[in-house]
């Protein structure tokens, strides 16, 4: 039984005297659901979205210009500030790009440390995503649980490099320092602690009627469209493309680890949620193997004091928590990079929003935007 709020009799048309028109609403720049400073201009017909225009650049610092005036090593702290939720993966992507340009091989132990750090970071990043996504849809408690687990990862990082968010831990040729005493045991304990927690989140959300209603069938991104837009990461996998750069173009030592690449079928918000949940489990699996196999040894290769890559260019892409993170580095054999172009996954992922939002209600825009998982730091650079 539904209560009818309208004073009009059922079936009666709106009187011709009342004018109806489409109108514009600004969502952002300051809006809790945009997770940063992003402005979306919505053209609405009642509550239904007709057109959406994103305006980006509020956090623009011109990272690429700054890099041209820094040495190769000095660029590393700036990469932290691109995708600040997944900073380790940015360090990794940049360092490998420069190493490929110079042809450096790095010590075994450093490779393992890098994989451990990158995967811990992936779990942390997905935890932030899960918490805020659930919060956007009105589930408070998940956020608190997610941040509880993330705290453990932050503590591990703090012990290792002193920072909790902007690590600058990796160096060209390895990592800045060896792991602290007892790190491996603590990390193993964390893996065992975290695994059942992921089941807990699923228990809170996966059978929650409101959550299902808000995500299933919402914001469908078809496979062909996703590829055409240059979408990558969990968003692409949610649309059913079996593609993970760690698997398909293994960098570092990823070819040594066994893990699965989860994919969705429909490309809706629900599939993206499922993909990310499963990715956390797979990351824990990689972590477990890496922590068991980590050898002793050096953590930094012998690199020249002044890094001066030979004349040339490289495009290296790695799988960051948000997708394909590419670094295009051009060197003119001077101590400073001639040009660095960052292919930020959030940038390409957001560009498809106008395609998948049309026809949905305003509340669904929040869900769709949340499921894309943008970080404005790397979007605006």
């Amino acid at each position: 039984m539904t209560t009818k709020l309208s004073l009009r009799a059922e079936g009666e048309a709106i009187s011709p005297q009342i004018e109806t028109e489409e109108f514009f609403v600004n969502m952002g720049p300051q809006h809790p659901a945009t997770h940063g400073i992003l402005r979306l201009l919505l053209k609405l017909d009642g509550e239904v979205l007709q057109e959406i225009t994103p305006y980006i650049g509020y956090l623009h610092r011109n990272f690429e210009k700054i890099c041209e005036n820094r040495t190769y090593t000095q660029v590393i702290p700036y990469t932290d500030r691109l995708d600040y939720i997944g900073a380790m993966n940015n360090n990794l992507g940049y360092c490998i790009a420069v190493e490929r340009l110079m042809g450096i091989t790095i010590p075994e132990r450093a490779e393992y440390i890098r994989v451990i750090m990158a995967e811990l970071n992936r779990v942390a990043s997905h935890l932030v995503w899960l918490g805020t996504f659930a919060l956007d849809l009105g589930a408070w408690s998940v956020l608190l649980y997610c941040f509880r687990e993330r705290e453990e990862i932050m503590n591990l990082y703090e012990e290792t490099c002193g920072a909790r968010l902007t690590y600058s831990y990796m160096r060209i040729g390895g990592v800045s320092s060896d792991l602290p005493d007892g790190f491996v045991e603590k990390a193993k304990r964390f893996v065992n602690y975290c695994r059942p927690k992921i089941d807990d989140y699923e228990a809170l959300l996966s059978k929650n009627a409101i959550f299902l209603e808000r995500t299933k069938g919402i914001g469908i991104l078809p496979k062909e469209l996703a590829i055409n837009y240059g979408v990558s990461g969990p968003l692409l996998r949610g649309s059913g493309v079996q593609w993970d750069l760690r698997k398909e173009e293994p960098y570092s030592i990823y070819e040594r680890f066994k893990f699965d690449v989860p994919v969705g079928t429909n490309g809706d918000c629900w599939d993206r949620y499922k993909v990310r949940i499963e990715e956390m489990r797979q990351s824990l699996k990689v972590l477990e193997q890496a922590l068991n196999d980590i050898p002793q040894g050096e953590t930094l290769a012998k690199v020249p004091r002044v890094i001066r890559p030979p004349k040339g260019e490289v495009y290296f892409r790695s799988e960051s928590p948000r997708g394909e993170l590419g670094f295009y580095v051009v060197s003119d054999n001077s101590p400073k990079p001639y040009r660095i172009k960052v292919r930020a996954p959030s940038f390409s992922n957001l560009s498809c929003i106008s395609e998948i939002c049309n026809g949905w209600k305003v509340a669904d825009i929040v869900a769709i935007l949340g499921s894309i998982d943008i970080v404005l730091g790397e979007l605006d650079r």
């Binding site: 980006i56 650049g57 623009h60 011109n62 690429e64 210009k65 469209l225 590829i227 055409n228 837009y229 240059g230 979408v231 493309v241 593609w243 398909e248 040339g312 260019e313 495009y315 892409r317 394909e324 590419g326 295009y328 051009v330 001639y338 040009r339 172009k341 292919r343 940038f347 390409s348 560009s351 498809c352 395609e355 605006d380 650079r381």
Partner: protein, 147 residues
């Protein structure tokens, strides 16, 4: 790759540079890209990245292409006149190029024909100049004397 392009477009000169990238004349970018995307055996359906490099005498556009069906990659380069850089937009082929091209316009002043929405993307519309060009001088920058 380059041989297939030469076969298809006999009148056009395609060169390879030292990094194995294919150099494409500015006037032919659209047909070359369409050919690379739609031909069986090439099928470049994914534009990974679009970068611009300012070489002080020319502006160089760099297209990094990838094919999901065949899992191979290639790089295209187009050298543009620095004074008046104009190029056909490839956003009709890869929709993802839309924002990349807007960024190229924003940072380097490359103008694209037939682009659906040719505006600045990261900077405000009132911004003067193209910051990533090598000769750009930031009006607010204070240059400290050399020590």
């Amino acid at each position: 790759m380059v041989n297939k392009l030469r076969e298809k477009f006999p009148g056009i000169i395609f060169e390879e540079d030292e990094s194995k990238a294919i150099l494409i004349p500015p006037d032919n970018i659209l047909e070359a890209c369409r050919f690379l995307k739609d031909t069986e055996g090439l099928e470049f359906d994914y534009l990974m990245n679009l970068a611009v490099v300012d070489w002080k005498d020319t502006l160089e556009m760099v297209y990094h292409l990838f094919s999901f069906t065949l899992r191979h990659k290639t790089t295209l380069k187009v050298r543009l006149d620095r004074q008046n850089p104009v190029l056909d937009s490839v956003s009709g082929i890869w929709r993802g190029a839309d924002w990349f091209e807007r960024e190229a316009y924003d940072m380097f002043g490359v103008k694209f024909n037939n682009h659906p929405d040719m505006r600045r993307i990261l900077l405000s519309d009132e911004w003067v100049g193209y910051p990533l060009r090598k000769d750009y001088i930031d009006p607010e920058l204070e240059v400290l004397p050399e020590r």
